[in-house]
């Protein structure tokens, strides 16, 4: 059983804070707490204890934030901009190397995996 918030199904026995932070891209624990304070959801509330108006309020508040696809698009655009203006960071992204001065002789596996011009597929 899941509770659908912002088009995403969150497991019913998750606490609201953890459920939001784990499920919605762009929301961490701090943002989740802030959202809960705004909507007046109590800190230890579980997903299945949310009422219908509270879910609607949460949806409304989340829709005002930069999350999910829009955020991913923004990150892609930012990387693309760096590459287009010919910055070193952009080139490093293009080659799939670490951007912030890390070594490349060994390691750098995370950079090889993540650093691309199109970081997120949309």
């Amino acid at each position: 059983m899941g509770v659908v918030v912002f088009g995403k199904s969150i497991k019913h026995n998750f606490s609201v804070k953890v459920g939001l932070a784990k499920t919605i891209f762009g929301i961490g624990y701090d943002t989740a707490e802030r959202l809960m304070a705004k909507v007046k959801i109590y800190p230890q509330c579980k997903m299945n204890q949310l009422t219908e108006p509270q879910i609607m309020d949460l949806n409304r508040e989340i829709s005002q934030l930069l999350v999910e696809g829009h955020l991913k698009q923004k990150i892609n655009n930012d990387i693309k901009l760096k590459k287009d203006i010919g910055s070193i960071a952009g080139m490093r992204h293009y080659y799939g190397f670490p951007v912030r001065g890390q070594r490349t002789c060994t390691n750098a596996s995370t950079a090889r995996r993540l650093n691309k011009v199109n970081r997120y597929r949309l």
């Binding site: 707490e33 802030r34 809960m36 304070a37 007046k40 109590y42 800190p43 230890q44 509330c45």
Partner: protein
């Protein structure tokens, strides 16, 4: 496949079946000659089913032990009931009515090893006699002069002393007393209840906590509330019908048992009305307020709840929190009675708000800030007298352990001696059980320094 062909042949050969109204598929098979129809036979299991699982594997050990309900199989207790003229250093059981009241109030907590005995037992110590003199005998005096804070190390019996004080005051006043007991005050600030803002009273209300507490005090004070007539008219809705209760006709019990608006998520003024009613009756009926784990309220004054602008809400901004602080402060306005506050050692020991309030003569760090120290709250709580618990004496420990021995909780046996090399195994050592028991008493008393929880753990939970 073979079966299908046989069936299709059957259908073709019997045209009458096709004209019948029943389904063709449900037509019976023709049995082959020389074959008998097989019958479904269920195997009979001669073995008796044994219930192996207790479904407790998902629980932590302590919780699982509690759920096994050993108190139902415990041996019968032959102990006297507690009376108002009790003798010190003896073990008692609570009278049946008081025991049920304490149970409904949540007086017997988890992990106090109550499941070891058929009924909760209590030992009257020097602390009991002191609380009887300092608090119970003064319940007819002014409320604000009768405020005590029970302090002591973990497991020394602070919550038990609260229970004893409640029981003794109920016995002394012949149950004609209002007992407002809160068994765990930390629930107000730990973020476990929903909260709404009441614009009218400009205070936060916690419907879940309030409803549960009202249920508890209603069960504990049913007889007293039935005698208390309402002093003001009141109306509320129940099942979409408006109910009006009139003053001097209906009782407080009628009001609390019918009113379910305490638990609703809409703002209301019913809690204020209830406190006002108790205030009016406190001239004739003494009010005993007992709050366990009170240091959780004061030492964690900034709660887990956050306002819409993401600032932590202070404990005094909550309706229940404000009530507890006002009660401890003495400014609530009850005429007769007293308040007993108790400490819990499970919370942060470096927080000093209650310590500074209760022991103003002690030195403290003046540069401490929130959350370690709340100066405003400490100033507000001044005037509470400390009641420091003393540990059990050797005689009291012996008396308590005698009961444990009789109940089978404490097993007296000879000491384990490792055999020396070439020692004969047939050598039988006779042990005097009386002296062995005395040895156990002295040993556990010395190791735990008269702390009953330590004694119990050493005896029952170690092998």
């Amino acid at each position: 496949m073979l079966r299908f062909t046989v069936r299709s042949i059957n259908i073709i050969n019997i045209p009458i079946r096709c004209l019948s109204s029943t389904n063709i598929v449900s037509a019976p098979f023709k049995q082959k000659e020389g074959k008998t129809k097989q019958k479904m036979v269920t195997k009979k299991n001669d073995k008796v089913d044994v219930k192996r699982s207790t479904n407790l594997t998902h629980l932590p050990f302590g919780e699982a032990v509690r759920n096994l309900q050993f108190e139902k199989t415990a041996s019968e207790l032959k102990i006297d009931e507690l009376t108002s003229d009790f003798s010190r250093g003896k073990v008692f059981i609570y009278p049946k009515k008081i025991e049920s009241k304490l149970k409904s109030m949540g007086g017997f907590k988890k992990f106090q090893f109550q499941e070891s005995f058929a009924k909760p037992i209590t030992l009257t110590t020097s602390n009991t006699t002191r609380i009887n003199e300092l608090f119970v005998n003064k319940l007819d005096e002014k409320f604000e002069n009768n405020r005590l804070y029970i302090d002591g190390s973990k497991g020394i019996g602070k919550s038990t002393l609260l229970n004893q004080a409640i029981a003794l005051s109920l016995l002394k006043h012949n149950h004609d007393i209002i007992v407002l007991h809160m068994d765990n005050a930390e629930v107000i600030g730990n973020g476990s209840s929903n909260y709404i803002f009441n614009n009218k009273l400009s205070i936060y209300q916690q419907p879940m906590i309030t409803r549960r507490w009202i249920k508890k005090i209603l069960a504990a004070n049913e007889d007293t509330f039935k005698k208390m007539k309402l002093t003001q008219d009141v109306k509320f809705t129940k099942d979409k019908l408006e109910i009006k209760l009139t003053a001097n006709k209906h009782t407080l019990y009628d009001y609390l048992s019918q009113n379910f608006e305490f638990g609703k998520t809409d703002p209301h003024t019913h809690f204020k009305y209830l406190i006002n009613e108790i205030k009016q009756h406190s001239k004739n009926i003494p009010v005993l307020v007992s709050i366990d784990n009170f240091n959780a309220v004061t030492d964690f004054s900034l709660t887990q709840y956050k306002s819409p602008d993401f600032n932590p809400i202070h404990i005094q901004e909550f309706e229940m929190g404000k009530f507890l602080i006002d009660v401890a402060n003495g400014s609530i306005g009850f005429e007769k009675g007293g308040v007993l506050l108790s400490k819990c050692n499970d919370f942060a020991p470096n927080r000093k708000t209650i310590e500074v309030a209760v022991y103003p003569e002690r030195e403290y760090n003046l540069y401490m800030k929130q959350p370690e120290f709340d100066l405003e709250l400490a100033r507000k709580l001044q005037g509470i007298k400390p009641f420091e618990m003393t540990s059990l004496t050797i005689d009291e420990s012996r008396e308590l352990m005698k009961i444990w021995k009789d109940q089978g909780v404490l097993i007296v046996r000879k000491d384990f001696n490792k055999k020396d090399f070439n020692q004969e195994s047939s050598q039988v050592v006779e042990v005097d059980m009386e002296s062995q028991f005395e040895k156990i008493v002295l040993n556990s008393f010395n190791t735990s320094q008269g702390n009953p929880m330590g004694m119990f753990k050493q005896i029952a939970l170690t092998y």
